[in-house]
Symmetry: C3
């Protein structure tokens, strides 16, 4: 699945507009540079439409949303859509507050995202909030395991069908799905959850991949997910005695910077459902 998607990012160097949280924003910028893309962060209503116009993709992350940046998200999202740019939503903390849940739901109503990426709990919240067919998703467990995988695949395909977006659920196993096909990806390491922002970084990477590979949204998203997981494995293998989560963070971004198609092909661990 992974052939050439990374190469296209490095070749085209897409400019990615990020409206993102201030917690992980520096890592998001550095990981975009590591994969060959370029970041622009901008969240003021007076300029986001103009900024997004000169970019190729838009990465929207509600991790530290506020009344001003929410307004900017709608403006930028509509403008980007109008221009045919690729757009991703990372609904950080959807379900943790009404503001987050409702903002994500409203964004999904007014803008069709190319990709939506979150953890199980965030994506389940969106599924509830964006429709009234609670049947399937209500049955999905909080962690996707071998036993709940079949259910989860049905859920994620159905959600993709309803939303028109590729859905990415990350966790111990990662699912990347449109309404027909679902990649199940088993790269990564549990220790990645001890670093703040690996999810935010992945969302930025996916945005870069789909912007540079606009004809292959599903596959390019899966490639980005596989690459992030593989970077987590490579980074971990380089850890020295006494190192902990702060060094691991650095080593993962390093691994993205040093990644190539050959490594990706060898390291990718996935199946199709």
């Amino acid at each position: 699945m992974l052939r050439n998607f990374l190469e296209n990012v490095r070749k085209n160097s897409p400019l990615i507009h990020c409206i993102t949280n201030y917690v992980t924003v520096n890592d998001v910028a550095n990981v975009l540079l590591a994969c060959g893309a370029s970041p622009i962060m901008s969240d003021d209503a007076a300029e986001v439409e103009e900024i997004t116009s000169i970019c190729g993709g838009l990465n929207m992350n509600i991790g530290t949303l506020n009344k001003d940046t929410i307004a900017s998200m709608f403006l930028a999202g509509k403008k980007a859509k109008e221009l045919g740019h690729k757009i991703l939503l990372d609904p950080v903390g959807a379900g943790a507050s009404r503001l987050r849940t409702e903002t994500a739901a409203k964004l999904m109503e007014e803008i069709r995202f190319d990709v939506i990426r979150g953890n199980v709990s965030e994506i389940k919240t969106l599924a509830h909030g964006s429709g009234n067919t609670k049947g399937v998703d209500a049955d999905m467990a909080e962690e996707i395991t071998g036993q709940t995988l079949d259910q989860a695949v049905i859920f994620v395909k159905e959600l993709s069908r309803r939303t028109g977006s590729v859905i990415v659920i990350t966790g111990a196993m990662d699912l990347v799905s449109d309404s027909r096909k679902c990649y199940v990806i088993r790269n990564g390491r549990p220790e990645m959850s001890k670093i703040t922002g690996t999810g935010c970084q992945l969302s930025a990477l996916i945005t870069a991949f789909i912007t540079a590979n606009p004809e292959h949204i599903l596959e390019a998203s899966a490639a980005a997910v596989g690459m992030m997981g593989l970077a987590g494995e490579i980074g971990w293998s380089r850890m020295q005695p006494g190192e902990g989560n702060a060094s691991y963070r650095t080593r993962i971004i390093n691994a993205i910077d040093q990644m190539d198609e050959e490594l990706l092909r060898k390291g990718a661990n996935y199946e199709m459902r």
Copy 2:
């Protein structure tokens, strides 16, 4: 003093709501993960009460305060108090502007903090601003040394009595005090002051420790202070040729990640006054 406090953080994994500055926020998030807690950053008035409700502790830091986040601090603080959550105030820069001094003073008037942590100058500012007994604190020097320690211990106990908060003053020596007992902690290294945010990180750690050890506010705060200092010593011992403050920052968070009760017991350097 240190027995089991860290273990309880790792076991209970408390969720800590941080309203904090955008300078050091990433390190604050990673250090909370390193010690076994989980961070949520949120500062919009429309959601802070709801966010703090799902957390166990609240870490408030005025390092880059603004009119919007100040309003959120009052909302979150009152809600957290109402729910019996543990709350810490880090009055970054109190004394540097009226806005900071008055915001800290007003927060202290309306919310009884479990812990207040700052450097000598910040804590002295609060002492002046929050009462009219200037006698003792006016006599306290800017740096606590062997010669001024007795005075400082009297000052910090008195301030704790007046405020009802455990007071933590960090510097060359650290004091952690309630109205009756004062820990004097001699861990840490002077080079820690060449890294931005070690104070902010410590405040987050204390919040995690008191949230996971709610019956032992004083001792758990002292344990967190000792752990941060010890991490500074361990991190420093691992520095390689050519490394400077940027690597030191990473090595300190690594040391928190790798810390255990055994290391803490062996490394803690404190006395009681």
Copy 3:
């Protein structure tokens, strides 16, 4: 050119007020500490005048400007000017949106900056926006090379004459110019552009250097530019197998922390035009 400028920063430890973007702010703070200065970040209109009053220099960066922080920039800039403080403008993204271009132009109209630092494209935008003599600058290429250097030197001297500011253009070659003399600096490495914020860091360093060496704005700026480039070379020489842009970022700040006048004198690579 470099003699003693760094030493003066380390000796005087100037306090630098930064109104800067939230993407690279942590690195900006750590690099200021690394060179011996002290950072204060503050951007609320209610306190910026007071905060800037206790500082020696003001570093203004429009990387993530918004309506609130723009207002603060004018307040802080005028106050700092009134007090005779050194002031630098980093017009991040000027040309990418009207908001950025117009904010930079208006700041330049109302405040005479001691130094303005940007890349070729940003500085060209300012030249167009701040006057109507398009002749020279319209001829300047996007990248300064051996072939376009003569033109670029004429352009930058002319812009310095018109604005009254020392102009710093960074890229493959760096120019540091007043209306009469132009330093052409050839330190640095192309890989520095794969790290977010090396430009922001440099602007902070220049602010520290001119604040600690107020009688030598041109030379102190050139010394800071040379030091940043040299740190990029030293950091690169220390890279280990498997390391990428995230480690490089750390190694550059380390190199600033470990820099001394001796290293600077030996490593500086510049000529005067």
